[in-house]
């Protein structure tokens, strides 16, 4: 099952080293978002965008801890048509999400959501892609571009 908005597939990777953060406990959530902020700052995102990115990472990382016990978040710089950006991939081998549409339902306006933080994270990032197979695991790919 896949949830992904239509997007431009062309991308240039800068070939720079990616940063991997193992996620197994709640302390790792803080590490992941701090590393995310550092990389965002290095990519020239402004303070507000750095906070958006760090917050989105926090939500995704917590999902891993809460639903999958352990997983990994990878942070990488990316570029597209001269714009700098950041790529974040969260992967776990947890139980997966049985109903993605429900999980992605934006309860923002009504104040109700499943509390998985996914619609929130999606709102904070420019691109958001989720692949989940029940029993196998979940991979979330998010990107944000410098304005």
């Amino acid at each position: 099952m896949r949830y992904a908005p239509p997007g431009d597939e062309e991308q240039l990777m800068t070939g720079q080293a990616e940063i991997r953060v193992a996620i197994a406990s709640d302390g790792d959530i803080v590490i992941a978002r701090q590393k995310g902020r550092e990389l965002a700052a290095a990519r020239d995102f402004d303070k507000t965008e750095q906070t958006l990115i760090a917050t989105a990472i926090s939500e995704i990382a917590r999902n891993i801890v809460e639903y999958a016990n352990s997983g990994e978040i990878t942070l990488q710089p990316v570029e597209h048509h001269g714009r700098a950006g950041i790529l974040i991939v969260a992967h776990d081998q947890g139980p997966g999400i049985p109903d993605i549409d429900l999980a992605m339902k934006d309860g923002y306006s009504t104040g109700k959501s499943l509390g998985m933080g996914l619609p929130g994270a999606r709102r904070l990032m420019d691109e958001f892609d989720l692949v989940s197979t029940p029993g196998k695991g979940t991979t979330i790919t998010m990107k944000k571009w410098v304005r």
Binding site: K47, T51, A54, T55, R62, G111, G117, L124
Partner: protein, 119 residues
């Protein structure tokens, strides 16, 4: 990493110094709940000015703290939310509804003093 909690008159002030893990936040909630009960404080100010991220868990914890301390007769004010953090929170749909907020420690204490005066 425990959060230092000071007592100023009948107000408890919790100054968060650095990023807190989920466990730290839960511990803070328990600590404040216990202290309010023990010291019969009338108000609690939680200073978040050192935090660079306030995600859904932290927000939920703040709401829980406000709720449990209210049950024990104290009003809680959350202060010091930075502009970028406030921005991210509303984007995420986190509103801290039902929790009093103020700009900083000074304003938070002033607000509580007004409340306790009038009650």
């Amino acid at each position: 990493m425990p959060v230092p909690i000071l007592k100023q008159g009948d107000i408890l002030i919790a100054s968060i110094q650095a990023a807190l893990s989920d466990q730290d936040l839960v511990r803070l909630q328990e600590e404040l709940s216990e202290r309010v009960g023990r010291s019969r404080a009338r108000g609690v100010v939680i200073d978040l000015s050192a935090l660079d991220v306030l995600d859904s868990f932290a927000t939920r914890t703040m709401r829980n703290i406000a709720y449990t301390t209210r049950l024990r007769g104290a009003e809680t004010v959350v202060v010091g939310i930075q502009p970028e953090v406030a921005f991210a929170m509303v984007q995420l749909g986190l509103t801290l509804e039902g929790v009093a907020t103020a700009l900083d420690l000074e304003e938070g204490c002033a607000m509580l003093r007004r409340e306790t005066k009038s009650s």
